[in-house]
Symmetry: C2
Subunit: 229 residues, 2 copies
């Protein structure tokens, strides 16, 4: 099963796509990356994910798998000879899933809202909420990592991948707004984790560069605005 | 591990709590059900789920597990001697997770919006969206069940539990608005599935009765409105 061709439909600046890239790298899975145009989605994408019409989609043989965290779990379940991504204990798996859902439902949407914010006041309020979320995630890191380098212990796990996918945008916003969101005072453990994560082989050519990301997102917003006029 | 005491913090009318009840019943797990008051949450709930402050919470020994679908997966992973809830094939697991996420993110919120709708026009529009979602879920059922009784095949699985949790509210709305949402024309397979599911031992004393549910939700809305005045 694991020898069928693997394609990833995505875009390099997407936190969700980055997650899948980390998982593929961790498991050393050869794959073809097919770059999508979000403003003009390919037939292959629309056929592969007709309900949500979103990237990422992993196509394994002729089987499309959709949604980043489901894809990460799928990869972990199929390529069992690589390093484990999900923790082995059900309690730890439930905790990882809980915090990953927190990131997707509550925290990551704030980052996009910061990019979309038109006024300084609303951006400041949003940045405060982003920081509050990071303080919660700092506590989760301390609890999950038990003094080791990653949420997953000695190696990158599910929650590292879930939060690691957001590091491009987080760094992009730090650059854009000239602020520090991860710092020595309130989130010292996460600050160290982010450095370690970004220098890991699985991540270092995946996490987008802040300047390139911000330029791309700005162009995207301009194109999207022009398309809806 | 599986012999530690099990407590479920919840409320009988919640789709999310009902899911956990189905899973506990399927695995024949003895447990204590602790009824919560949503307008005045217990210390135990706030301590067990300090981030989301939501039911359901499963407390296994002294370990709280939060969020319905994570709890269902936890139960499946811990009580491995009972019938399996998640499908065995990674592709089928990914498909179950995809549709369960669709239900939670897109479709189930519509049901609550119907209950909250103040005007006939907006209720009609919402009911149409509910029906459109059911048509998608009908196609998913045909694909997943492969001609058998449940999404999970011959026995109740993860997606049966995810959608089955919503049947109380679905029937409640059918009663409230005097409409049929599951019918012989557009969703014949799901109509049969719902009957089979509700008469299963794991579900039959769990799915709320429409009249009792609607009375309770009406009282809850009145109390919530009074509390915010």
């Amino acid at each position: 099963m694991a020898t069928k061709p693997v394609k990833l439909l995505g875009f390099w600046d997407s936190p969700y796509v980055n997650r899948v890239q980390f998982a593929l790298n961790l498991k050393s899975i050869d794959h073809e990356f097919i770059e999508e145009n979000i403003l003009s989605k390919s037939e292959l994408l629309l056929r592969s994910n007709p309900v949500q019409k979103k990237i990422p989609v992993l196509i394994h043989g002729d089987e499309p798998i959709c949604e980043s965290l489901h894809i990460v779990q799928y990869i972990d379940e199929v390529w069992t000879d690589g390093p484990s991504i999900l923790p082995s204990h059900p309690r730890d798996r439930a905790m990882s899933r809980f915090w990953a859902a927190y990131i997707d439902e509550k925290w990551l949407p704030l980052l996009w809202e910061v990019y979309e914010a038109k006024e300084e006041d609303s951006r400041t309020t949003l940045l405060e909420k982003v920081r509050e979320g990071l303080v919660l995630l700092e506590a989760a890191f301390v609890k999950c990592s038990k003094g080791k380098a990653f949420f997953g212990g000695d190696s990158i796990g599910y929650l590292d991948i879930a939060l690691g996918g957001c590091l491009g945008w987080l760094k992009g916003i730090e650059k854009l707004a000239s602020v520090k969101l991860l710092d020595e005072t309130k989130t010292p453990a996460l600050l160290g984790w982010a450095e370690t994560f970004c220098s890991n082989e699985a991540a270092k050519n995946v996490v987008p560069e802040p300047e390139k990301l911000n330029k791309c997102l700005k162009e995207f917003q301009a194109q999207a605005a022009a398309a809806t006029k």
